[in-house]
Amino acid sequence: MPDDLRRWAAERAPELLARAEAEAVEELKRALLDAATSAGRTQAVIDVRSPTAKAPAPRRSARRAPIRPERTSRKPAPAGDAVWTYCVLRAPGEIPDAPHGVHPDGGVEAVQHDSLVALVSRVPLAEFGEDALHRNLNDLEWLERVARAHEAVLDAALGAATIVPLPMCTIWESEEGVRRMLVSERAEIAEALDRLDGRQEWGVKLVVDPAALRTAARARSDEAAALEEELEARGGGGGGYMVRRRLERHLREVADALAEELAEDVHARLQDWATDAVTSPPQNRELSGHEGEMLLNGAYLVETDRVERMHELVAELANRHRDLGARLELTGPWPPYNFVQRSSAAVP
């Protein structure tokens, strides 16, 4: 037995060391992360909830010091305008009734070439030039305002025509550049317009309450019941500790499997109804404000005359999975961002 013990100790020592080291690193990381998160969160909440003019200007002092030094020789902001593009549609292309473009001074205009029209706004280079964009894209207030304005123009256009949306910050030096784009991308845009005619993009998100999911997992698993019994029989000793660990792990596995099954069921049913379907990663809670765990973030391209039936289907699915604490959020119609191809040639 002493031999056994010695062997055991020899075997165990390196592991203990490794474990201690790993734990120390993790602790340190967690502490750093907590500090960073709490420093960042307050600011983020302010920015998210009061995106309008009321929000105080972010205090420089509240930010973490930039790791790289400020550039010393910043070029003077260029004067003049550039042309921001929102989307492309078929000529003649009605100019939508949007309140304003991404910049308050530039209304929405149309630039036509042959059978296609791009909706555009003039934007000042002082704010939308390359250097300025680098700064502004890192400014959440700016990003939110411009993203919302961009999307608002698309929404307005969507009411009147089939559109091919462009990502924000697709910017040209002049209308000439926009026309060149309408020529070079014509085939792809025309194909997309044909495919999108008479169809709408709708978003469906599935969110579950983790506690309800766990309860359901417990109720459905015989093994969980057996482990619980064993735990009760053992009381608080060290063996109980191991059993509790196994129970926890088991419940998590069952709950994960349930969640996966649920997400697959919902997505499959909606996919059957849709012409096309795309799933995106679950959204960041800080940004979306959802409560619970997002299991599905899907977009569905649906024939316009089947949209009403799709609403019913979503309600039906929400009902069916209510016992798992499932909620379904349906939004739309959206500019069909999820159903136009990314141009492979154009990606830098």
Partner: protein
């Protein structure tokens, strides 16, 4: 704040063909950003957004961008080089590896203890220790958005 965004799906029978029937007044910013930053036909315009020369302004945006790849393309990359945020990057190999190693080591240790029947020797200390670090309250993590929703919480390797 969150609830108003969730459409009462029961109302779907009363779908109105108004321009944007399904859109609440203030659309979720995540819904917008994930589309306008990440999707659509990507065409390189005349204004090129230089990826290399960006100030690390603030960490707050890390909470807000789901579309990491596109954000990088556009030059939003403040989280890179900020070591305290590395574990938030979706594909941080080192961190994942460390967690996996840690978990595997703990499992091996548990097995060894079981085999040798010595697991009872110091369970009290480890139990308390474990409970302190991983209380149930922390088990509903608030940062689910930073990882795939269906995976086990990453900050909590199995012992």
């Amino acid at each position: 704040m969150a609830e108003e965004r969730y459409l009462p799906t029961q109302r779907s029978g009363a779908f109105r063909p108004s321009p944007l029937p399904g859109r609440p007044e203030q659309t979720n910013l995540a819904d917008i950003l994930e589309r306008v930053l990440d999707k659509g036909i990507v065409i390189a315009g005349d204004i090129q957004i230089n990826l290399l020369d960006i100030e690390l302004l603030t960490i707050k945006l890390r909470l807000l961008i789901a579309s990491v790849e596109r954000a990088k393309e556009m030059g939003i990359n403040w989280w890179e080089g900020d070591t305290s945020l590395q574990s938030l990057q979706p594909e941080n190999g080192d961190d994942r590896r460390l967690e996996r190693e840690n978990r595997e080591l703990r499992e091996r240790l548990d097995r060894l203890e079981r085999q040798l029947g010595v697991g009872e020797e110091e369970p009290a200390a480890r139990e308390d220790d474990g409970d302190e670090r991983e209380p149930d309250a922390q088990r509903e993590p608030e940062d689910a958005g930073e990882r795939p929703a269906r995976s086990a919480p990453t900050e909590e390797p199995d012992a």
